[in-house]
Amino acid sequence: MRLATAHEPPAFDPLHEPTTPAVLYLDDISVSFDGFKALNRLSLIIGEAEMRAIIGPNGAGKTTMMDVITGKTRPDTGTAYYDRGRCNLLKMHVAEIADAGIGRKFQKPSVFESQTVGDNILLALKGPRGAISSIFGARGRVTRERILEVLERVSLADAVFKPAGELSHGQKQWLEIGMLLAQDPKLLLVDEPVAGMTDAETEATAQLLKSIAKTRSVVVVEHDMTFVRALGVQVTCLHEGRVLAEGTLDEVSANERVIEVYLGR
């Protein structure tokens, strides 16, 4: 269990070499909506090139946690740092956080349906993102090879000229993961990537995420236990806005409280 380390105060002096090796460091985060505590003193640390699976019942705070990390929701209390303590996430705008290298995949596949698969990747590719500069072609200079390279990783290279709206549900999920890769992020937040996928697609997605996690940190929220098992990574179970248990899937699923609130007897 890693929970113990989460409460050590890290040094966040930007002038000095950061001391926390964590890519993502959340400490004591609380968010409440009209009195309902969506997150209750949540602490979580994700290391470099670490993949973590997050499980937990509905309303456990999984999506709110992603909202806090990506700057969509500001917590009432707590600290959130990214990239070895270099970035204070609570002081950054959504676009700045994305630009700093945190990519987020939504639960519902969210791609640009009326544009081609290739253009979807083009829009996601790292590069200048200004409104004015885009008129004069700053985006256009990105190479075709780079787009195909990303599409090959998510097995969509053949569909490069196809409108994204014509893809199957599973392919849209992959395209969105491809868009995240095109952003070249350090940390990927992936919300229920295999919901609605066939078994074969689920297996392929597990392989894809594992290969991504060789060089990047990945946080996966998922209900599908077969999939979580296939990932074979550390699991964090959230409940009522805080960490209930952390460890391997076997450890977590043996935990009395986890069985009680989530897995069922």
Binding site: T70, H93, V94, A95, E96, A98, D99, G103, R104, F106, S110, V111, F112, E113, S114, Q115, D119, L122, L123, A124, R129, G130, A131, I132, S134, I135, F136, G137, A138, R139, G140, E176, M179, Q183
Partner: protein, 364 residues
């Protein structure tokens, strides 16, 4: 193709109007030139709406306000051109100010003696309003129907303000009784033909600007915002900046349309700010097919031609029903408007005959 049609129109219509004697069969009467000019001003307004709505999903129901502001800026210049030829023959003040017993020109009327200043204001006033309004709305993430409603409120508030005599824009009557534009008599056929050509040039120029915007990478981001705004946001784009730019450009185009409209029609009054006027303009775009630019122009000209025909005939009292019916019919039967229908027919024509049997029927 679209530009070629505009170019042909710019040459042929004035030529047939000015060069042929009225008795000739091919002669185009001055009234038709005026009507065409009016339609094309509406077409430019529709193009502006389509740029923001069709490509970025920003449904403004207040574009009539930008159109009217551009019109007022031009109207103020035209008022100053009247000089001492007004009913009260006051060389310093427009008639309505004399009537209100004002002694001096309000500060915001200064500068409108010069065409260049007025032309600048045609662009700056709608552009600035759109910029400030858009900055507040887009930064606060006001989207969809909520945005549409506040644009309605904006144009309604401006209408009420311009109705007041104290505002200094002629109140209820607005600005009218214009004499010249750049020293040319407004009623002369030559001036009207020149105005038509100017309108065509403005429409063509705006079309090119819009095309440039939507075909660039910027346009791809706009469409992406339309289809999945939060995805774009989480990819690291400042969505509000993209929206603000397209909304401001669109408002400027609407202002130019209004400025060309006023000398053609000869009057500008607060009724141009009517909320219904903005909604009607959105219907033109929907009928033509949004997100196509050319469709917006076709829709504006087509619906307004229909309006001219209907409101001068027996159906006159029922125009709004006709318009409403048209909107419902298009929404149900042609969700992509006239351009969508053209596209669908073209696709059906190109299909090989071996495809399902239902298709030939649909092609008829």
């Amino acid at each position: 193709m679209f530009l070629a049609v505009l170019a042909a129109m710019a040459i042929v219509v004035p030529a047939l109007n000015l060069l042929l004697p009225p008795a000739s069969l091919l002669h185009i009467p001055g009234q038709t030139v005026e009507l065409l000019g009016k339609y094309l001003c509406y077409a430019l307004l529709a193009l502006a709406i389509d740029l923001a709505w069709g490509y970025c999903g920003i449904l403004s129901l207040g574009h009539g306000a930008f159109f009217a502001l551009g019109g007022y800026a031009m109207g103020m210049y035209l008022m100053r051109q009247i000089g001492a030829r007004g009913v009260y023959a006051n060389p310093l003040l427009p008639d309505f100010m004399v009537f209100l017993n004002w002694k001096q020109l309000p500060w915001f009327w200064h500068g409108f003696d010069h065409f260049a200043f007025a032309a600048l204001m045609v662009v700056v006033v709608p552009g600035l309003l759109a910029f400030v309004f858009g900055a507040l709305a887009f930064r606060s993430k006001v989207t969809g129907v909520y945005f549409s409603i506040i644009t309605q409120a904006m144009t309604y508030a401006l209408m009420l303000a311009f109705f007041r005599n104290d505002m200094g824009f002629g109140g209820n009557n607005g600005l009218t009784d214009f004499k010249d534009l750049l020293g040319l008599p407004l009623q002369a056929p030559g001036t009207r033909a020149a105005l038509l050509v100017a309108t065509i040039l403005a429409l063509a120029g705006s079309y090119l600007v819009a095309r440039l915007l939507v075909t660039s990478a910027y346009g791809k981001v706009l469409v992406a915002i339309r289809d999945a705004e939060s995805r774009v946001r989480f990819l690291g784009y400042r969505v509000e900046n993209f929206k603000l730019l397209v909304f401001t450009v669109s408002a400027i185009m609407a202002g130019v349309a209004g400025a060309l409209y006023v000398p053609m029609i000869g009057i500008i009054n607060p009724s141009e700010f009517r909320p219904e006027a903005s909604i009607e303009a959105v219907v033109w775009v929907a009928v033509g097919g949004r997100g196509t630019l050319v469709g917006a122009v076709l829709g504006a000209v087509g619906v307004n031609y229909l309006k001219t025909v209907v409101t001068t005939g027996l159906l006159a009292p029922f125009w709004l029903f006709v318009l409403g019916g048209l909107f419902i019919a298009v929404t149900l039967a042609l969700p992509k408007g006239l351009m969508g229908a053209r596209e669908a027919i073209r696709k059906l024509m190109n299909r090989p005959t071996s495809v399902p049997s239902a298709i030939p029927e649909a092609a008829e």
